[in-house]
Amino acid sequence: MAEVSVRKVVKEYDGGVQAVKGIDLDIADHEFVVLVGPSGCGKSTTLRMIAGLEEITSGEIWIDGDVVNDVPPRDRDIAMVFQNYALYPHMSVFDNMAFGLKLRKFPKDEIKRRVDEAARILDIVPLLDRKPRALSGGQRQRVAMGRAIVRNPKVFLFDEPLSNLDAKLRVQMRTEIKKVHQTVRTTTVYVTHDQIEAMTLADRVVVMNHGVIEQVGTPNDLYHHPATRFVAGFIGSPAMNFMPCRVQDGANGGLDVRVSDSIIVPIPPARVDRYGKFKGKNMVLGLRPEHLFEYHEQGKPGWSRVEMLVDVVEPMGMETMVHYFVDGAPICARVDPATHAAPGEMMPLTADLNQMHLMEPDTGKVV
């Protein structure tokens, strides 16, 4: 087990395209770090550079206190799980898992002990004699994880390992991965484009976009205190609502946020100082769907009543998503399924402004 450091790492492909633009990241021993971001953000390239499968254009990668820029993958003592499993099709599950150990000339008894132990952890003992083609997608992915575990490497690298599984199996395997990490405690770098995977698995999440790190933080940090509009929109499902607005004088020396002629809401007093300097400026109001819900007569401080014209209603059983348009901006609210909502009708809602975010429209920075 080891620490991993990425220092000013740049990856530039032929033709001058920069996939990774000088990122810095320190991953502690035993930590589970998830790199998340949209396609083409550089997360997989970063992982592959840590693995040694991609050369680094400039910068340094450290594993367990050593610079590994010029160290081949096999000497980095890492194990990787691929999106499409990459199992050796002509080998049994046992041989797949034992392959790395055999190449490293481990004694047969030790190989058997390690494979059996990993198979027990992953619940694949009955599959050890089967070939990969006789396994389901979930079983194949477990074998791929088993191949990583038996090596007992310094670092686990996961490259979108659940993307090929169906939704139900993905949730199940997500739990398995978390369980395995709790058992073996190996430093893990995990790449995904699925923010739910990132939030549920990670000790820390690294949000990447266009080859740079937008924000690093715990899942709670990213959810409650996003640094940029990109992070605010990427983390959370459904995504945060963004409404162009203007900060203006309110009642009793306070401030209001004016979203439209009909939606003018007071900023909670605790935030007046923070937002005071943006008075008279055009900003973007960010409010998550879960902070826009059915209207309650007895509100709390910071709750405001707003009314919007219902566009689409999506009942989901435990909750209902209601979609609106405010001055052309799509808005989503997460309301109690018992609430009456019909397309074409005005609907009263509560906006919990204690959870609001205010962003600069040009930089996207959350203020």
Binding site: R74, M80, A86, Y88, P89, F99, G100, L103, A134, R151
Partner: protein, 298 residues
Amino acid sequence: MSATVAERRIAVAAHRKNSLHRQRQWALYGSYAALAVFVFMFLVPPFYTLMTSLKSSAEISAQTGSPWLVKHPTLENFWYLITYPNFQRYYMNSVIVTILTVSVSMVISVLAAFSLSRMGFWGSQLLSTGVFLTYLVPPSLLFIPLFQIIGSLGLINNFWCLVLLYPTLAVPFCTWIMIGYFSSIPKELDEAALIDGAGYLQMLWKIFIPVAMPGIIAATIFAFTVSWGAFLYPLAYLYTSNQMVLTVGIISDLIRGDVFQWGKIMAACLLASLPPIVIYAFLMDYYVAGLTAGATKG
């Protein structure tokens, strides 16, 4: 009213179903007809060869009755060849040349294809195309310059020259086949092997060769066919019986002047066809497509 509409819909659906059924039936008849022509064209020559090989020289020269039927079948032609020392020598020479050609060609092709398809060095794409282009040069253009090379090596009238020459025919195409197979193996398999601790040769030996076995078998069959059936080079470079291989041995030994020993020639052809048939039948069992199933998502 609504009942009439429903009935009409059912009738239209039934009509569509019938026409689809009829179309499929016609496609089936067409396939059978095409296959019958194909089978007829390809099986008639071997059948004629077999019939002639079972006739005595007297029956062949009598020219009475149908040439497609045998009146007095005999194995004398086969027995003659089996006990004929020259024929045994041709057979042995062909076997030696073929085994060596196939081995040399496959080693070169597999190594070349692996490096060209997986190691991604500068110019590998150009080289891959170049390898295939060499296959397009007809052997009849090459045998005169090759005669000089073989002569300078002192290998004229020595069947070992064929072990040098046949790979020039087999390697380009085998390499091309193997490049295709190796390229179809998911890149992640190399990467997994690299991370597991394999070097390039270990990766080739332990992962690529087993996974690409159908391709290797296809290439082996091709190299075997090239070597076993080649006619031009042995005709040009070998002229004594002790060095000849089957293809030239049969015609030079069984055609004397204007005397064609048809029965023996046909029997020799059938005996010479045996190894390819046996090898094809044996290797086809192992030619299991889709060996890569399960390697990756799919």
